[in-house]
């Protein structure tokens, strides 16, 4: 079993390393086989070792990574229910995405690099999931950052793409710093960085420390999960190839933050303040991203903002104290968002590599299969009744509602509001892309089979994943909550209340649909409005960051390099040099053959010597 568990991690790593070292020398399809094979193998290994994950989980230490003084970091795996379910999701979705990518990147000349990075990404993500200590988790955490950097900027010939990659790396790294500080602090407090060890000891901490630690972790999670205020990298990251968007920015990396908070839940949940902050960040991001999604014109940017919004829901769930709701939504979201992104890739191909939804339309006629797949995803996202998204989102909202106090009621109201917006932009997208007639002038570029058929299982999973945690009302057993060992997350509400909540959810879904239908059934060319522009640019957050952070940073840099380095330090050095030169010139003047000066020096010397002896004699 140990071998299987190790293989989960090792296969993607090996695939990546082999491709990196020898990929160029192998004949063309082989690197793709290696990449896909390794991830599928990893998925199978995860399936095989799934039974290990019961109770407190299974620990496996491979070797000691760093050991110094009291500090010890192992390369160790912790395979508990949470990790197991996440591993399955990651490897499963990643396998499908790899297959899709094999089709998508068929013609790209730089395939090897792509699959290398993709494999390494899966490895890093699995490291986050399986790590038994925070440092190893941090390795994965930074590893996914690097891989996403390479993948977002994959088409590096265009500078914008490379810029987007850099932005993603740096913005997420800001979050990472907070995580790093939390890690250091936790080690200083407990003398260990093992996740189990920390979670076992947190009870004794005082409240301020817990709150601060939780907030540090929260900011760290915000960076990776594109939550306020570190969200601005995600929309730009859509510059990457579509499979990357599907893998990184939908299914896995952005959920790493949620996963981290769930991992450290025993610590985080101790502090009500931190929990409230998490919930607030979540709901604020959800609402913010939903409003932004209303005005986006690029199909992938709409999805990017929707991702941000849905991850906001997950944060909300964590903030509400319901790990299983968060994980439930995480998993369902991974399925349907990967589906959506990959289907969007097909749509973009169909529209002749056109991203802009204003120049699409009529896509339904071009490929009904893609249409239905995309709609399946959209329905899940919009929360159509009985789809997975409906159940998972409803669980979060119901949890908020069930808490009863005014704060949580407010969260609930905002959540419902966000759901309305979600439904609205989903159908806006649907109408603009598939309804009406084709508005562009590009020839369709048929997606190949490899690009379409991995979507089928995802669509099925997306529609049916609600079964994982079906509530009692629908005769379900809340399996996920039970598996995660968090029975307390299962809601026990009055039947009437439950019906009321479900009714609200359905009503919101229908209302959003109707509004979108009213507005977007017939395509009308709309002039750019001020508010639309504001939303399109994500509330101008980029400009704000530019003003607040980037420009001051550049100014400081310029001050240091121009002012201090050249002005001060070189100035002082130059001054010293000039001073020495001047002194030298003067001294040289003294020796300029002027006998009277020599004589004067002689006499002065005499005077000094006589004076000295006199002084000695007198004293």
């Amino acid at each position: 079993m140990d071998i299987l568990l190790t293989l989960i991690l090792l296969l993607p790593l090996a695939g990546g390393v082999i491709n990196a070292c020898f990929g160029k020398r192998l004949p063309r399809p082989v690197p793709v086989f290696i990449a896909c094979g390794s991830v599928i193998g990893s998925f199978l290994a995860a399936l095989g070792s799934f039974t290990l994950a019961t109770g407190d989980g299974y620990r496996l230490v491979l070797f000691t990574w760093l050991k110094s003084g009291h500090f010890q970091a192992d390369v160790g795996l912790l395979f508990d229910p949470l990790a197991a379910i996440m591993t399955l999701m990651v490897t499963g979705v990643a396998s499908l995405i790899h297959l899709y990518a094999a089709g998508y990147m068929e013609e790209d000349t730089d395939q090897v690099r792509f699959f290398t990075l993709l494999n390494l990404f899966v490895f890093a993500m699995l490291t986050i999931v399986l790590a038994d200590n925070l440092l190893l988790l941090f390795l994965g955490w930074e590893g996914v950052g690097f891989c996403s950097y390479g993948l977002i900027g994959f088409w590096y010939r265009k500078t914008e793409n490379a810029d987007a990659g850099r932005k993603a790396f740096i913005v997420t790294r800001i979050g990472d710093l907070f995580f790093a500080v939390a890690l250091l602090w936790l080690f200083a407090l407990f003398g260990t960085i093992s996740i189990e060890g920390i979670n076992a000891q947190v009870a004794g901490l005082d409240m301020t420390t817990v709150t601060l630690l939780s907030l540090l972790l929260l900011v760290g999670a915000c960076g990776k999960s594109a939550q306020l205020p570190l969200m601005s990298w995600l929309p730009d990251a859509m510059a990457g190839p579509t499979p990357v968007s599907a893998l990184i920015h939908a299914a896995t990396m952005v959920t790493a933050g949620v996963y981290l908070l769930c991992r450290m839940f025993p610590l985080v949940s101790l502090s009500p303040t931190a929990m409230a902050a998490i919930a607030l960040v979540g709901i604020a991001t959800a609402l913010y991203a939903a409003t932004c999604a209303l005005a986006q014109n690029e199909i992938k940017r709409v999805l990017a903002y929707s991702t941000m919004s849905q991850v906001g829901y997950m944060f909300l769930a964590v903030g509400l104290g319901s790990v299983s709701a968060a994980m439930f939504h995480l998993i369902t979201h991974a399925f349907f968002k990967a589906l959506l992104f990959m289907a969007a890739g097909c749509v973009i191909n169909l529209a002749g590599h056109e991203n802009d939804i204003r120049r699409m339309g009529g896509m339904r006629q071009r490929s009904p299969l893609v249409f239905w797949l995309f709609i399946a995803g959209l329905l899940c996202l919009a929360g159509a009744p009985l789809t997975s998204g409906f159940f998972s989102k409803d669980l979060i909202l119901a949890t908020a509602f069930a808490r009863g106090d005014i704060f949580h009621q407010g969260l609930y109201a905002l959540g419902v509001m966000t759901a309305l917006l979600t439904s609205f932009y989903c159908f806006r997208l649907a109408y603009l892309v598939f309804g009406g007639d084709y508005r562009g002038d590009e020839l369709p570029h048929e997606p190949n089979g490899l690009m379409v058929w991995p979507l089928l299982p995802l669509a099925l999973l997306g529609l049916g994943a609600g079964l994982l945690n079906l509530p009692h009302l629908f005769a379900g057993g809340s399996w996920l909550s039970a598996w995660l060992g968090r029975e307390q997350d299962v809601l026990h509400l009055a039947i009437a209340t439950e019906y009321l909540l479900i009714g609200t959810a359905v009503a919101v879904f229908v209302l959003g649909w109707l509004l979108a239908a009213l507005r977007y059934r017939q395509y009308v060319q709309r002039p750019a409005s001020l508010s639309g522009d504001f939303l399109l640019n994500g509330w101008r957050a980029d400009d704000l960051f530019d003003l607040l952070l980037v420009r001051p940073f550049k100014k400081i840099g310029r001050f240091c390099s121009q002012g201090v380095e050249i002005g001060l330090i070189e100035g002082v050095l130059g001054g010293t040099v000039r001073g020495c030169n001047d002194l030298g010139m003067r001294l040289r003047g003294l020796g300029a053959g002027k006998v009277s000066l020599y004589l004067q020096g002689l006499v002065w010397g005499f005077v000094v010597i006589v004076g000295w002896f006199l002084l000695r004699a007198l004293i």
Binding site: S68, E142, R157, L177, L184, F187, S561, V564
Partner: protein
């Protein structure tokens, strides 16, 4: 383990012999010197590897040699090797081997060039072995001379200014050191009646706090310039930018290390009280330098200067670790030093290759190299990522140990230092972006790596990954010597 054969002297004089042979054969023959240099460097590498493998993780000297030298002044020829020096010597030998390979096509007076490289190696090894202060000082100054000529003769346009700047800076520091060494010698002689320069004996000198502080500052003046710590760094970018590739490798890999080595082997144990008192100052300068160098690096256009400033930034990290004064931080510092040497050497090597192919080092003119030279670019990316502290690659292992060590003592320092990691990302990514990505450079030499370059880069890359994932062998070697040195200083 007692081995009568003077292995350390062999290690020390092998490069010198090689240098002489190089000089002799270099007259009228351009291929012989490089083979001699390669063989010598390889020999030194093998011997030092042997020494490392023979190490057992104990505190004492594994090898020790002590001969009479200048008796009337109590100067002895004392060499000692423990885990600490063996790690650094191995690093030196390894990098020197690469430096020889890097400058394989040296056209201009190859005999002298390789001879100087070997003399430099000898001096660096001498510094790492010497236990007699005069002997140490001798090697310390000896490092200057070959480096001066390497920069001043084989450098770029402004090489002479750079060489003179380097020389003056380090010389002023060294003279302070000499002054302090001699006064300490006299003071110790007055106290005990035996005049000696032996390190162990001088540790016993009784000093008032003021005396200690003065001596300490004089010692540190030499070491801090060599490291270089923040306000004393301005020679380094020039020396790197104007020096030849091998010179940069040696600067980053050999010379910078000796500064830190001097601190922990000589300055701290000799003057523990003063060291304790000045640690906060040291840490403050290190932190300022960490940020400052990163900010300045971001503004540079010359890629070699960017790497040079990143070097300063990393050395700030190293010094911060030393200032924390505990086992974890010190092990981290030494580890980071080794890793930084390898990473930066790799960066300089690739930068030299880039310049060879494009004829430019300016970010404004470079870009899109991945298209034409994917293998070279991949190595560059790897070294850059190691340099910005990606976990799993070399530098991170050292940095995290430093941070942990510092945090347990002074949380605030560590928190500020963590911020430095962010800025190291900004300039490194700018470096990557400006050279590898984009589309605006047409290199005149389309050849991707050729075999000699593979030979240089693969060991570096392997080490970068290996030391990042499994640095334990190095840490094991460092552990006992460092804890012994820490004990001498006493815990604060």
């Amino acid at each position: 383990m007692a081995i009568d054969f003077p292995l350390l002297s062999l290690l020390l004089f092998m490069p010198l012999a090689g240098a002489l042979v190089c000089l002799v054969l270099g007259m009228g023959n351009s291929t012989a010197p490089r083979w001699v240099a390669l063989l010598t460097a390889a020999g030194v590498f093998v011997v030092s590897l042997l020494l490392c493998l023979l190490q057992t993780p104990t505190a004492g000297w594994l090898f020790y040699e002590d001969y009479r030298w200048i008796e009337q002044f109590g100067v002895r020829y004392t060499l000692g090797l423990d885990g600490l020096s063996s790690v650094l010597i191995l690093l030196t030998a390894f990098l020197q081997l690469l430096a020889v390979l890097v400058s394989w096509r040296q056209e201009r007076a190859p005999g002298v060039f390789f001879a100087l490289l070997l003399v430099l190696e000898m001096a660096a090894i001498g510094v790492l072995l010497a236990l007699d202060l005069i002997l140490f000082y001798l090697f310390w100054e000896l490092m200057l001379i070959p480096m001066f000529f390497l920069i001043g003769v084989w450098g770029y346009q402004r090489r002479f200014q750079a060489a003179v700047k380097f020389f003056l800076y380090t010389l002023i520091g060294s003279l302070c050191l000499l002054l302090a060494v001699i006064s300490l010698y006299l003071l110790h002689g007055d106290q005990t009646g035996t005049y000696t320069f032996a390190l162990e004996a001088l540790k016993q000198t009784e000093l008032s706090t003021t005396q200690e502080l003065i001596f300490f500052f004089c010692f540190m003046a030499a070491f801090v310039v060599k490291v270089p710590l923040f306000p004393f760094h301005s020679w380094l970018p020039d020396a790197h930018a104007e020096g030849p590739a091998a010179g940069s490798v040696d600067l980053a890999g050999l010379l910078l290390k000796t500064g830190v080595y001097g601190m922990i082997r000589f300055a701290f144990p000799l003057f523990p009280v003063a060291a304790q008192k000045t640690l906060p100052v040291l840490a403050g300068l290190a932190l300022v330098g960490l940020f400052y160098a990163a900010w300045v690096a971001y503004q540079q256009v010359d890629i070699k200067r960017i790497v040079a400033f990143s070097s300063i930034s990393h050395m700030g990290f190293v010094i911060l670790g030393l200032a924390a004064w505990n086992q974890t931080a010190w092990e981290g510092s030494l580890l980071l030093m080794v890793n930084h040497a390898i990473t930066t050497a790799g960066l300089f090597v690739v930068v030299a290759m880039i310049e060879q192919r494009t004829g430019s080092r300016s970010l404004d003119q470079l870009g899109g190299l991945w298209k034409s030279h994917p293998n070279m670019s991949a190595f560059f990316l790897l070294f850059c990522m190691a340099s910005l502290g990606l976990p799993g690659l070399a530098n991170f292992a050292g940095e995290i140990l430093i941070l942990i060590g510092v945090f347990t003592v002074k949380p605030l320092w560590a928190v500020i230092a963590v911020g430095g990691i962010l800025f190291s990302a900004t300039y490194t990514l700018r470096l990557v972006q400006g050279t590898l990505w984009g589309n605006n450079c047409e290199p005149h030499d389309k050849q991707d790596l050729h075999s000699r370059e593979w030979l240089v880069l693969i060991p570096l890359a392997v080490l970068v990954v290996a030391l990042g994932c499994y640095p334990q062998p190095v840490l094991d070697l460092l552990r006992e010597p460092l804890s012994a040195l820490l004990l001498v200083g006493g815990m604060p």
